[in-house]
Subunit: 93 residues, 14 copies
């Protein structure tokens, strides 16, 4: 059962790190975007519609990189092909 | 019981690190957003309604990355499929 | 008792690190927010009510990330499922 | 089965790290671009059409580097030639 | 007595590090807040009452994160459940 | 089969790292270029044609460094001369 | 006597590091506060009373985080419960 | 075959790292140059010819450092004298 | 004599590091304060008395954190309770 | 053949790192110079001749440090005295 | 003589590091102070007496932290109580 | 022949690192100088003679530090006294 | 002779590092001071006498920290008490 | 001959690192000084004599720290007392 334990451990570690570190940059990038949006609103309140629309499109694109990380994490925890192969090997052994 | 201990240890470590480090960037990003909101309010008090609404939408999106991390932590502590498999193995052994 | 010691050690380490490092960013973010609030108050004293209300909402959201970390620390010290399982194993052995 | 375990572990680790770290810079770069777009909109609302069009072209190019990383991750998880070779070796052994 | 020594060592290390590093960010954040307060006072002496009140509320919230760290340190030194369990085990052995 | 496993592992690791880290700087550089382009458009809308043309030439040159990295990754995964030599050795052995 | 030596070593190390690193941030924060106070005094000499009073309150709060660290150091050197327990064990053995 | 494996591994690692890290700085430098070119175009549209000509010469010189790295990588993968010597030794052995 | 050597080595190391690193931040903080004081003097020569008085109070508080570190170093070299205990043990053995 | 393998490995590693890292700073420095040249051209188009001449002299001097690194790399790969000595030893053995 | 060698080595290492790193911050802080003094002199030549007097007092306080480090180094090289104890032990053995 | 291999390896490593890292700072410093020269030329075209003369003298002094590094590298590769001694020892053995 | 070799190695290492790293900060601090002096001279040529005198005093104080490091290096190479003791021991053995 | 090899290796390593890293800061500091000199010349061409004289004095002082490092390197390579002692020991053995 040693090799299964190793795969499980590695999957846990990487699932956590990928989400933990991979969401850092999106959070910072979104913070910067929101801050810029707020300054822009204060500077030009009449363009509020364009600004908020552009902001939401931008946030969606930035959030997409966080979601890539979350997806990889979820694949590693719940749909890990290496783990499935190992279970199949262990069951067939 | 060695492999269970390893999985438990790794789960504890990663649960803590994912939350501990993964909430850093959201906190910084939210701090930046709030600071920008306050400066904007001081600069254009008349646009307070638009500014605070945009701020809250932005904070919610930034907070979502922190919540991804917290969710992964909680999954690793309370709904860890590798741990469940190991318990099942140990019970059936 | 070796595996229990390991789990205890890891729980102590991660509980401390999660709180110690996870509260860094909120403290910095709150410092930035408070600084911005004070500058805004000096710039536009008439908007004090809006500014302080927005500040407190923002501080609450930033503080929430620190509280996630503190909660994970407390779970690891006082309600650790892996530790409880190990105690149950040790008691039943 | 040792060499298969090693390849599986390495593939998991690198798949996670490549996505986790490789999406950092795109998120930051997109955050910067969006922030610049919002400031530009506030400064020159009449050029909104040109600005948003340039922004979307730029975001697409930046996002492409994140997609390179995601593609490498997916290749390593689902279409890894080294893993396939190892499975073929194990099956034929 | 080996496992007790390990738990004691880890508790000492983490108690020190949690306080030593966890108080860094609050100190920096408070320094920033105080600096902003002083600049604001110089800029708008008439709003001194509002500024100092907001400053003290902000300092209290920032200090709270330092106190979380100090509390975890004190729990690890004086009310450590893992250490208590180990003493109970050693006494009952 | 040990030396083949090592070469496979190293190829996987380096393929991931080269893409993961090598695309960081292009993403940041492109983000900076796009941000500058947007500011320039806001400042001088009449020069939109020259600005976007220069931007696209610049993005292409920056993207080329990301493509060098991606090419090296693909060579290491799908056309690795050391791996081919090792397979030939293993087949002929 | 081995376990006592280890506890002594760890206590010495952490006592030094906690004070050595934990006083860094307060020193920087106080430096920033004092610098801001001096600039404010130069800008608005008439508000000297308010500025210095606020400065001293702020310095006291920042210094408190340095004192937490110093207190933990002193506890670890002169009132270390783990060391006392170990001495009691050694004496009673 | 051990020494050949080592040389192969080291060549793969260094080929990847040299390209992966060596293209970072050119990408950043080119991003900076392009950004400066765009700002200059916005500021002085009449000098577009001189600016773009100087930009392209500069980009070529910066790109040359990326190409040094790519050349070293290609030499290590496809024309490595140490690998050739080792193959000759292995063939003649 | 092995455990005494270890305690001596650790005490030397930590005494040096605590002073060496713990005096960094005070030196930087004092440098900042002095720089601010000089700028303030140049800006408002008439407030020289208030400025220098505030500067000296501030320098004293910053210096206090350096002195905490120096005190801990001196305690570890000349009044180390763990070393004294070890000498007593060695003498009584 | 062990010592030859070691020398070969070390030569490969250092050849790659010297070029990979040694070209970083020239690329950044050239990027800065080109950016400054472009800003200067925009500011003072009449001095274009002097500016571009000074730029090219400067780029040549900066490029020279990158060439030192490339030369050392090439010496280590193609004219390595230690490797030649080792081959001579191996041939004469 | 092994334990004496260890103490000697550690003393040499720490004596060098304490001076080498501990004088960094004072040098930077003094550089900053001198730079500020020179700017102030250029801005307000009439206040030269006050400025240089304040500068020298400030430099003395900053230099004091460098001197703490130098003193600890000298104590470790020429008046090291642990080394003296070890020599006494060796002589009396 | 082991000790000769070690000296050869160390000489190769250090020769590469000294040149690779030692030319970083000169490249950055020269880039800064050239950038400043270009800005100065744009600002004051009439002083071109003085500016370029001072620039070349400065570049020569900065380049001298890069040349120190290159000289040490060349000494280590082609005139290494430790290597010569080892060859003499090996020849005379 | 083993312990003498160790002391010699450590002395060489620390002598080099103390000088190599300990002269970094003085060089940076002096660079900053000289830069400030030159700016001040350009701004207020009439105060050249005061400025250069203050500059030289400041440079002397900053240089003093570099000299502390050089002195410690020279002591470790040419007047090392631990090395002398070891030679005396070796001679008397 | 083992201890001689160790001393030779350490001397080579430290000689390279001391020069390689120790010349970094002087290069940066000189770059800053030259940049400031050029800006000053552009701002105040009439003070060229004073500026260049002060620049050369400053460069000489900064260069002196680089020369300390080079001297230590040369001492370690060509006049190393520990190496001389070891040779004398080896000759007399």
């Amino acid at each position: 059962m040693d090799s299964m334990t190793l795969i499980a451990m590695v999957s846990i570690v990487i699932a956590g790190l990928t989400t933990g570190f991979g969401t850092m940059a999106p959070a910072l990038g979104e913070g910067r975007s929101v801050a810029a949006a707020l300054s822009s609103l204060a500077q030009q309140p009449d363009a509020a519609a364009t600004i908020t629309r552009t902001l939401f499109v931008g946030l969606a694109m930035i959030e997409s990189t966080a979601i890539y990380c979350f997806v990889v994490s979820m694949i590693l925890i719940f749909a890990n092909p290496f783990w499935n192969y190992a279970i199949a090997q262990a069951a067939g052994r």
